[in-house]
């Protein structure tokens, strides 16, 4: 049991050891690293757990057919719009979007829509919109959004196209497997 956990967390344990060694040589940098890591952790705790609960509920309550209809292969513009909407409403760092991709894959959502969702999650987040507006101003924020919005849609289709159908099937299978593990 302990051995299994140690193996799963080996990357973390190694990083912890490295940071501790650095702290021994350079206290300032070491302690600052820990405090930055600590604030990242605090940020995670303040948004990620409820987001995962919402994802868990979505996974159980929204049937595959519904998701396929609104975000699947033939969902067109509506699918894009919904992908953008969920992505924009979400709060949390980029990595919190990854478990969403697993559920979306399993529910038969079109791959380009998944990439669009990830893009929206990263760049058109409504919760951080005010932060950007106050920090960087109206001009900067709106110019960036005007370029980013079409950008993430194009990116979605581009990624789907270069990855190719065969690999996409493989990705879906893996998502299925992980859910059953």
């Amino acid at each position: 049991m302990i051995k299994k956990i140690a193996k799963r967390y080996s990357f973390f344990i190694w990083m912890l050891i490295i940071t501790l060694i650095i702290t021994a040589f350079n206290r300032e940098i070491g302690l600052k690293s820990f405090s930055i890591a600590g604030s990242s952790f605090k940020q995670m705790i303040s948004v990620v757990p409820p987001v995962m609960v919402l994802l868990g509920l979505m996974d159980i309550w929204v049937p595959r057919e519904t998701m396929m209809k609104y975000m699947g292969e033939d969902s067109g513009i509506l699918g894009i719009a919904i992908a953008m909407l969920i992505g924009s409403l979400a709060a949390g760092p980029m990595y919190a979007a990854f478990p969403f991709t697993e559920v979306l894959l399993r529910k038969g959502v079109k791959f380009s829509n998944i990439i669009i969702f990830m893009g929206a999650w990263c760049v058109t987040k409504i919760p951080t919109f005010i932060f950007e507006l106050t920090a960087l101003g109206f001009q900067f924020t709106f110019t960036r959004l005007l370029v980013d919005l079409p950008g993430i849609i194009i990116m979605g289709y581009l990624v789907e196209w270069v990855v190719g159908e065969k690999e996409l099937e493989d990705i879906c299978l893996k998502a299925e497997k992980r859910a059953n593990a």
Binding site: R8, Y9, F12, W14, L16, I18, T19, I22, I29, G30, K32, S33, F34, I36, A37, S40, F41, M44, S46, P49, P50, M52, V53, L54, L55, G56, L57, D59, I60, P93, M94, Y95, F98, P99, T101, E102, L105, F111, I115, C122, V123, P127, T128, F131, A135, L136, Q139, F140, T143, R144, V147, G151, M155, L158, V159, V163, E167, D170, I171, A175
Partner: protein, 161 residues
């Protein structure tokens, strides 16, 4: 504020779900825990890597390299720094503001923001676990190139107005 809204809506929906179906709710919670736990091993390592990186890279150092006269080289450096660093978005915006005040250029800061939010070298292994290595690579790579377009447009618009 965001925290309050998120925790509030999660709890509210859990209660509704519980009233409708206890078994399904338990299943949903189990799923939520699994999503969270699956992320943890990599996440804990990543925040230490990033903490170390941010402790070494100081804003003054960065704004020197990416000044408004630094041109395409500066944009490239910003995009590279933005790609390897991971920052909470609101910290990213504050940092960007600080960089601009310290003399960084608009194009360079736009490239930085764009890659900070869209490209994640540190989170690449985690992303590859979910959507596969190739898809994760292309998504990050295309987003990286796209950041140059964002930089270019933002620079032009800020120049006109």
């Amino acid at each position: 504020m965001t925290t309050l809204i998120l925790y509030g809506s999660a709890i509210l929906l859990l209660i509704i779900s519980h009233i409708k179906d206890k078994g399904k709710t338990r299943q949903a919670l189990k799923g939520a825990w699994k999503f969270l736990e699956n992320m943890m091993p990599q996440f804990l390592g990543i925040i230490l890597v990033v903490g170390l990186m941010l402790a070494v890279l100081k804003p003054e150092v960065i704004s020197n390299i990416i000044g408004s006269k630094s041109g395409i080289f500066g944009v490239f450096v910003s995009a590279a720094v933005g790609s390897i660093t991971l920052m909470p978005t609101f910290v990213a915006f504050q940092t960007a503001d600080m960089l601009l005040k310290n003399g960084a250029g608009y194009a360079q800061v736009a490239a930085l923001i764009s890659t900070l939010t869209l490209v994640g070298l540190a989170t690449f292994p985690l992303e590859a676990k979910y959507i596969g290595k190739r898809a994760a690579f292309y998504r990050n790579f295309i987003a990286f190139l796209f950041s140059f377009i964002v930089a270019f447009v933002v620079e032009k618009v800020m120049g006109i107005l």
